[in-house]
Symmetry: C2
Subunit: 440 residues, 2 copies
C-alpha cells in the first residue's frame, strides 16, 4: 500500500527533509511525498542582510522548490489546520480556487517562525523586520529613502534623526545587518552632496552582556572590535521599551531608563516565535514550540515529526537549541532518516546536534569564522563564509549568479535605486490627508 | 545672476534634458539645474516585458539618476502643483518632512503618462498593467501564480480559465509582453507535472486592423506571422468592454458582441494618458497633453518647455507624435538646446522628429527591426535590438549586468520563484473572510 508523507514548510528544514527522503525513494515506489509551502521557493535567510545592502540581487538568494525536489508533489498554499487524530491537513484556498485537504500517513511539521516583538504593539507597528525577502527589500528601500530625504532636509534635528538607524538585537541577523547597512550608507553617501559620512549613525542595542551570544567569547570579541572600528555604536545590556516612529524608549536590563534615541528607523531582529498555525495547533507546545522526543517525534501523536524552529529540543546542557539554519537542516536529516527507517521496518535513530561551524559576515570583506576549533577574523573568515555558502546553494545557475553578484560588487559602485514594490500604508494615509490641501 | 532650470520628471525626457544641459554647463557657472522625480532612478521602460518574463533581473533595468547627473540637484518628491505665473513649483512632503517650494527661471515639464483605461472602472480594478517596474514584477508573479494554482486544480473549467492570459493592445508593449510571457509559460511548464504546453492560451486583443500600427506594414507582417507561429492567438478589430475578474466582455469595432473570454488574468497595454498633475494644471491641454509651439514651449506661458508623453506635438501629416522613448529623448534634446541658447542669448531652434529605427523583440531569440530603410526579422533583428539597447544604457556596470542576464538566460533554466512584495488587496479580503471559518 502507498505511504504518503506530507511535509509542511518550505524552509531549510522542510526542503532538506524532502530532498533526503527523495534520495531513498525510487520512482514508482510505494512512498509518496508532498510538500506544502506558502512560497514556491527556498529562501537563503542568512543572505538577507546582503539583500538589504544590495550586495546580492533579490532573486539570487531564492531557489524554486520545484527545481530542487523532482519527485515531490508541491502545493503553494498556506496551512489552515492540522488534525493529527484523523491524519489530515487542510490548506487555505485562494480567491480563485477552493481549499484542499491532504491525508497523510506521516507528517513533518517544519513551518518555521516569525518575528517576535514580545507583545510591544507600538514597536511592531513602527519597525522594520529582517525575516522574509520582502523585509530585506523594505529595509534596503528605507535606507535609500533616508538618504534621499536627508539630502534635501534643512532642519538639522530632523536630518540627524533621519540619518540614525537603530538595530535591535546583537545576534547574527542584527550584527550582519548593521555591518552591511553601515557599509551601504558610507559608500552611497558620495552621491548625496549635503550629507557627510560622519553624520551617519548606526546603533545596535543588545540585551545581553555580549554580542553574538551563541558563539565563543573569542570570536564574539573579534566581531565586536571590528564593528566598533567601523564606527557602529553598540550598546549592551540595553532593551527597547517603546517606539512611536520618532523616539525609541530604552532601559538597561536592571530597569533604569536611559536617554531616548531620536530616529525614524528601527530594524527589529531581537527574537522569533513559531508561526500561529503551530501555536494554535492541538500539539503540546511550550513557548509556542512543539515538544518532541529524542527521535524528533511529537510527544502525544504518533507519525508526526517536527524539525526546525518550531521543534522544542534541548541539548545536553538542557538548553533549547537555537532557531538556526544549521539546526533546522540537521534535524531535517534525522527526521528523513527516521521516516525511511519506519517505512522499511528498521529501528529509528536518536537526534543529536553537533555545532559544525560558526560564521558571520561583518560588512565588506570582513567576517568571523570558527571551523575545526580555530577562530578566524577578517578577510580570511569572509572568504571562508562565501565559499561555504556557495557549496550550500543547490543549483548551478544560482551558484554562478551569486558569484557574479559578489564579483560585481567588488568592481562596481553601489546601486542606490529605490524600488518601491510595496504600498506603504503610512504614505497612503498622508496622501489622502494632503489631498485636502490641494489648491491647484 | 544665477539662472535656475527646474526639470519635472525623471524618465527618458527629463533625464536626457538634464544630461544635455549639463554638457554645456561648467561647474561654478551661472546656471543651476534641479530635477524632481518620484523615483530616484531612470526606468528603461522598453525592457519591462523582459522583467515580466524574468529574462532580466528587476534591478538591471533601472539606473540611479544621481549616478547619471552629477551637476544636477536631485529631489525625490512628487509634484504637487505648478504655478507658471509666479514661476514656482510645489512638491509634496512625506510623513517625515515638509513639502518644498522651488523657484525657477526656466521650467521643463516632462512628467510622462500613466495607463489609460478610458473610464472602464471594472477593467481598471481587475487588470494588470505594464507601465512601471512594480507592474512588471506583479505580472511576473501572477504568471507563476497561475501555474502554481493550475497545477493542483481538479476542475477543468477553472484550470482552463487560469491558463488563459488576455493581453489588451497590439502595440510594442502588448506584442513584446505576449511573446515574453508565452515563452516563459512554455519553458516553465516542465516543472508543473499536470500542465501541458497545449493548455496554455495567450490571447492578444487589438482594436486596429493590424498589430504594431506605428511601424511599416512589412515589418508588422513579419511580427504577426512570428507570433502566430508561436501559438499566440491574435484577434484584430476587437475591443474589451468589461472585465469582472472572471469574464472578459468583447466586441468587434462595429459594436457586435463576440463570445466572452473566460480568464482571471488581463494585462492592459492599450493606451496611456498624461499624469494628473499635468491634466489639472493651468496649462492649456488637449486630451490631457500640453499644447506647445514649434520650439516645444508651452503656448501661453513663457519659459516653460514641455517634452515627452505630456507634450502635444503634431508631425508634418498633422498626427500627434506617439508616446515613445524615442520621441521623448529627441524632444528633450531640443528643449535642452533651446534653454542653453536662451541663456547664451542665441536664437532657439524648431523641433522636428525623424523616425530613426523601429525595433521589437518577440519572444526568445526573435524580433523585428527597421534601420536605414531595411526591414529585418528573426534572430538578426533580435541581436540588433540587444546591441542597440546596450549602447543606450548609460553606466558601464548596468551594461555588463544586462549582458550577463542575457547570457545567463541562454544557458540556465527559467527561474520560477514567485516573490511576493506586494500586499494583494484581494487576497487580504479573502483572508479576513476565511478566518471566520477557522475552526482549529
Amino acid at each position: 500500500m502507498k505511504k504518503r508523507i506530507v511535509i509542511l514548510g518550505g524552509g531549510f528544514a522542510g526542503v532538506e527533509c524532502a530532498r533526503r527522503i527523495e534520495k531513498h525513494v525510487r520512482s514508482n515506489s510505494s512512498t509518496e511525498i508532498a510538500l506544502v509551502s506558502e512560497d514556491n521557493f527556498l529562501l537563503f535567510t542568512p543572505l538577507l542582510p546582503q539583500v538589504a545592502s544590495g550586495m546580492v540581487q533579490t532573486r539570487n538568494i531564492v531557489i524554486p522548490i520545484r527545481t530542487i525536489l523532482k519527485k515531490t508533489k508541491f502545493y503553494e498554499n498556506r496551512v489552515q489546520g492540522i488534525d493529527p487524530v484523523s491524519q489530515k491537513v487542510s490548506l487555505w484556498g485562494t480567491p480563485e480556487r477552493h481549499g484542499i485537504t491532504l491525508d497523510y500517513d506521516f507528517l513533518v511539521v517544519a513551518l518555521g517562525s516569525e518575528t517576535n516583538f514580545f507583545g510591544m504593539q507600538d514597536v511592531e507597528d513602527n519597525s522594520f523586520k529582517m525575516k522574509t525577502l520582502k523585509d530585506a527589500v523594505d529595509v534596503r528601500n528605507r535606507v535609500i529613502d533616508i538618504l534621499e530625504q536627508a539630502d534635501n532636509e534643512s532642519d538639522p534635528d530632523i536630518k540627524k534623526s533621519l540619518l540614525t538607524i537603530v538595530i535591535v538585537g546583537g545576534g547574527f541577523a542584527g550584527i550582519e545587518t548593521a555591518g552591511e547597512l553601515h557599509d551601504l550608507l558610507t559608500d552611497a553617501v558620495k552621491y548625496y552632496h549635503t550629507i557627510s559620512r560622519e553624520e551617519i549613525h548606526v546603533i545596535v542595542l543588545e540585551s545581553g552582556d555580549v554580542i553574538l551570544p551563541s558563539i565563543t567569547k573569542k570570536l564574539a570579541h573579534i566581531a565586536h572590535t571590528k564593528i566598533l572600528q567601523d564606527g557602529i555604536d553598540v550598546r549592551l545590556r540595553t532593551v527597547v521599551v517603546s517606539f512611536d516612529g520618532d523616539t525609541v524608549g530604552v532601559e538597561d536590563v536592571d530597569g533604569n531608563m536611559h536617554d531616548d534615541i531620536h530616529t525614524k528607523t528601527v530594524i527589529w531582529t531581537a527574537g522569533v516565535t513559531p508561526v500561529n498555525t503551530v501555536k494554535r495547533s492541538v500539539f503540546k507546545t511550550k513557548q509556542g514550540k512543539i515538544e518532541v522526543d529524542d527521535h524528533l517525534e511529537a510527544k502525544e501523536y504518533k507519525n508526526v515529526f517536527v524539525a526546525g524552529d518550531c521543534a522544542l529540543f534541548h541539548d545536553v546542557d538542557g538548553k533549547p537549541l537555537p532557531p538556526t539554519a544549521q539546526v533546522a537542516s540537521s534535524q531535517a536529516k534525522c527526521v528523513a532518516d527516521n521516516l525511511v527507517s519506519i517505512i522499511n521496518g528498521k529501528p529509528i535513530r536518536t537526534y543529536e546536534f553537533k555545532h559544525k561551524s560558526h560564521m558571520a559576515l561583518i560588512g565588506k570583506r570582513s567576517g568571523i569564522a570558527s571551523l575545526f576549533g580555530m577562530s578566524v577574523g577578517g578577510i580570511l573568515a569572509w572568504m571562508m563564509w562565501r565559499n561555504l555558502f556557495i557549496t550550500k546553494v543547490p543549483t548551478f545557475s544560482k551558484k554562478i549568479r551569486l558569484i557574479l553578484d559578489w564579483t560585481g560588487d567588488a568592481i562596481f559602485d553601489r546601486d542606490i535605486s529605490r524600488l518601491k514594490f510595496t504600498n506603504n500604508k503610512k504614505v497612503k494615509e498622508y496622501e489622502t490627508e494632503a489631498e485636502l490641501d490641494d489648491f491647484w
